[in-house]
Chain length 454, copies 2
């Protein structure tokens, strides 16, 4: 067993080197939605693993390649890290204080697209590994990395990769791509992810746009068709109107409610951070707000586009309109079922002119909060953060954990560098340097303890 | 009286010079909505008038300047031409075969943004004047030009200009900015314009976009708010739901129905040209389609914008959303009344978070189809087009004719170079050269006959 004080001292004194490596990583764009810089970023990822003497394999998937790396350790148990090298699109560009692919240090934070989601997590894990290798010359357990490049577009090819490589990926526990502290600086253990079904709805009512003075009274209007179709999905009471949508929804268990009740109040934080005036469904805060946030499925319009969007007025009747819509799913909903029910609903409502393009989906999945691996990760956090890690049975985001949990049979935990102000998916995405360091210290402890864990 | 055969011969032999002047005019961008090239284009307009020895005055309005020109003639009556030098935005640029501000001749057509709406009309009128001046050395009547630069943004300052300059603009008849033939090559006399009330509806639900995994269940979503607010304005049955919206609507008179019944069938033309599969409100064609097209008010979504609109998926909950909406008005609706009722309706429906920006409006206005000036314009068309001009009591488009008809007391007629394939307001806007020539011949006849008209 390594001396943790020495690990911490190593990490404290090598911070600048690690941040320099992270900055290089973030300078490389890797926008999966725009297929921008993906192959280059996969190669950069592989190079970082090779530098630590991992055996690395880059596998084509039909989409972005998967980077896999493994290095044997002293103990017999195997820890699998899941990360991704792709990032969200940087738009809207004009809201960034410094350019998204020019990592910039300001006020104890590092700003860049992807610095938090997910490049900072990956590099902080390599940083922890550097500390252990430097101090004991070997890893205390076998370590595997699975780093994909399509997480931000619903991990289109990851499930197939996991199913086709179950022996390669065999392990005893998995650390997920994210983790971090809440707005009270308390580290959080996220144990479940909602599923997702992301679609683009589009409609074309004519070959070309028409002068609105001509077509307004008698020609169908693509923007109106889209508005009415969307309105048929959900009304202002937030109830999703697709028949059977809620059929498979499991209400939170007694244990879930018990764990959720321990979470700190989030309402004021949300009001301040995002400028939210009122929550939906008459919610004000407390347990009911926390439960609604993660145990209810959603139907979110992520984008709308049609016709003229420039300054001033243009009197045109649009021939085309489209919306990006994401459904977040809770156990035991599946994206396939939601997709089928959505099509049937639109047809029934007279919207068979609305085309659905499925842009990706994942089922929800959860890890048992009482698993011993979860307990170890929770326990090792305390000496880093000075406070007990909070166990959250379910979180609002999505990810491809389903095949890890249900096919590889792994308990999946979170540990990382995130915080509520990280602006993931938004302009000015950033990490806090102090939390970057703490995240690395926690990962070093997890690797160190892993072989002692029952 | 001039010899019309000589006028026609002059126009036939000077076509290339006139098209060269028109191309120069169209090379100058003048997008009112984007305040692009407006001042430069006003100066170019003035220069073209000065070349014909018009006294020209450029007047600031607070927006785009008005270009006014007058030249005395032999007779005592005064003919006023109303035109505009501004054009619609050229977007979407990728759908243009040749660049919008590089006028290009192809297959007997001249392509450019604004070539039809409205620069070709203005230059064809100057071309007719050139013919008369060349043949008789003077104009047979006094001619005035009022050329504004905000027609495509609802003529924001024109009404004030007309009211403040009633003596300057005093005349006996007015030729409107457009005119032309229908899909059967029959020249059309358009005698009424619908009004318009153009608004931007917008909503902001948070300071910044939020990851949809976090906000989807509990934060308000700007795109959803906009969809529901729009849906409250009009349902799929096309009935506009703003209380009192239809109160001032005048049904078409017996004379209107009589004139409209003489119009050729338009349904197949619309299906072919625009790719329309079905008309709204169960309409199939015939008189009822013609009446619905122009005698009913509309609520048209001209544009939608919110959140992520790029390729693929981005899981974000938009903080902002907006729509461009135009209402076309029929007598006796007014934009002010519609605006007030829209605000009241949104408030009543719980959408007081939806902001309304008024981007411009004009009341509807009509000229009596039995006025002698109208008859003269109709009669002079026949020798040019070889067929009788069709009188249309009302048209679907809008324009600032209200102050000309109701304050200056003028009969307003249309005569010009347009045709159904001109793609006004759309990519690949164009004019047909044969119709450009015919339009100029008709204008020359109108000027020639004007002083003999009772």
């Amino acid at each position: 067993m390594v001396d943790l004080a020495k690990v911490d001292a190593y990490l404290d004194s090598h911070l600048d080197e690690s941040l320099a490596e992270l900055s290089t990583f973030c300078t490389q764009p890797s926008v999966a939605a725009q297929n921008w810089g993906i192959v280059e970023c996969a190669e950069l990822t592989a190079e970082m693993l090779r530098k630590r003497h991992f055996d690395v394999k880059i596998t084509s998937t039909g989409g972005a390649p998967v980077v896999y790396g493994e290095r044997a350790g002293a103990g017999s148990k195997t820890l699998l890290f899941y990360n991704h090298y792709d990032v969200q699109p940087p738009e809207p560009l004009d809201l960034w204080v410094s350019p998204p692919f020019e990592p910039t240090l300001r006020d104890g934070k590092l700003y860049a697209r992807g610095v938090s989601d997910d490049k900072g997590h990956l590099v902080s894990r390599l940083y922890a590994i550097d500390a252990l290798l430097s101090l004991i010359g070997e890893l205390p357990c076998n370590i595997k990395f699975l780093v994909e490049g399509e997480e931000e577009i619903s991990s289109l090819h990851l499930k197939d990769f996991v199913l086709a490589n179950q022996d390669l990926l065999a392990a005893d526990g998995c650390v997920w791509e994210f983790g971090g502290v809440d707005h009270c600086e308390r580290p959080i253990q996220y144990l479940g992810l909602r599923g997702i079904c992301y679609v683009e709805l589009s409609v074309e009512t004519a070959h070309i746009d028409v002068h609105s003075g001509l077509g307004g009274s008698i020609f169908p209007n693509a923007a109106w068709r889209l508005v009415w179709a969307l309105n048929s999905l959900k009304g202002p009471d937030e109830r999703i109107l697709i028949p059977g949508f809620y059929d498979a929804v499991q209400a939170p268990s007694t244990r879930d409610r018990q764990l959720m009740a321990l979470l700190p109040e989030a309402a004021d934080e949300y009001r301040q951070r995002y400028g939210i005036k009122e929550f939906l469904k008459g919610l004000h805060g407390g347990l009911e707000l926390q439960l609604a946030e993660v145990f209810e499925p959603t139907c979110t319009i992520c984008g709308l586009t049609s016709g003229y969007q420039g300054p001033g007025s243009k009197t045109v009747q649009p021939a085309r309109a489209s919306a990006k819509v994401d459904f977040r799913l809770v156990p035991d909903q599946t994206p396939e079922d939601v997709l089928n029910k959505l099509r049937a609903h639109l047809d029934t409502q007279g919207f068979d002119d609305i085309r659905i393009d499925f842009l990706g989906g994942e089922p929800p999945a959860r890890t048992d909060p009482d698993h011993p691996f979860v307990q170890m990760v929770v326990d090792t956090a305390e000496s880093v953060y000075g406070t007990k890690m909070q166990v959250v049975p379910m979180v609002g985001g999505s990810g491809p954990s389903h095949p890890f949990i249900h096919h590889l049979g792994l308990p999946v935990v979170t540990a990382g560098i995130g915080y509520p102000g990280q602006l993931a998916h938004a302009p000015n995405e950033n990490i806090r340097i102090d939390l970057y360091l703490k995240g690395a210290k926690h990962i070093a402890r997890i690797i160190n303890e892993f072989c002692n864990n029952p």
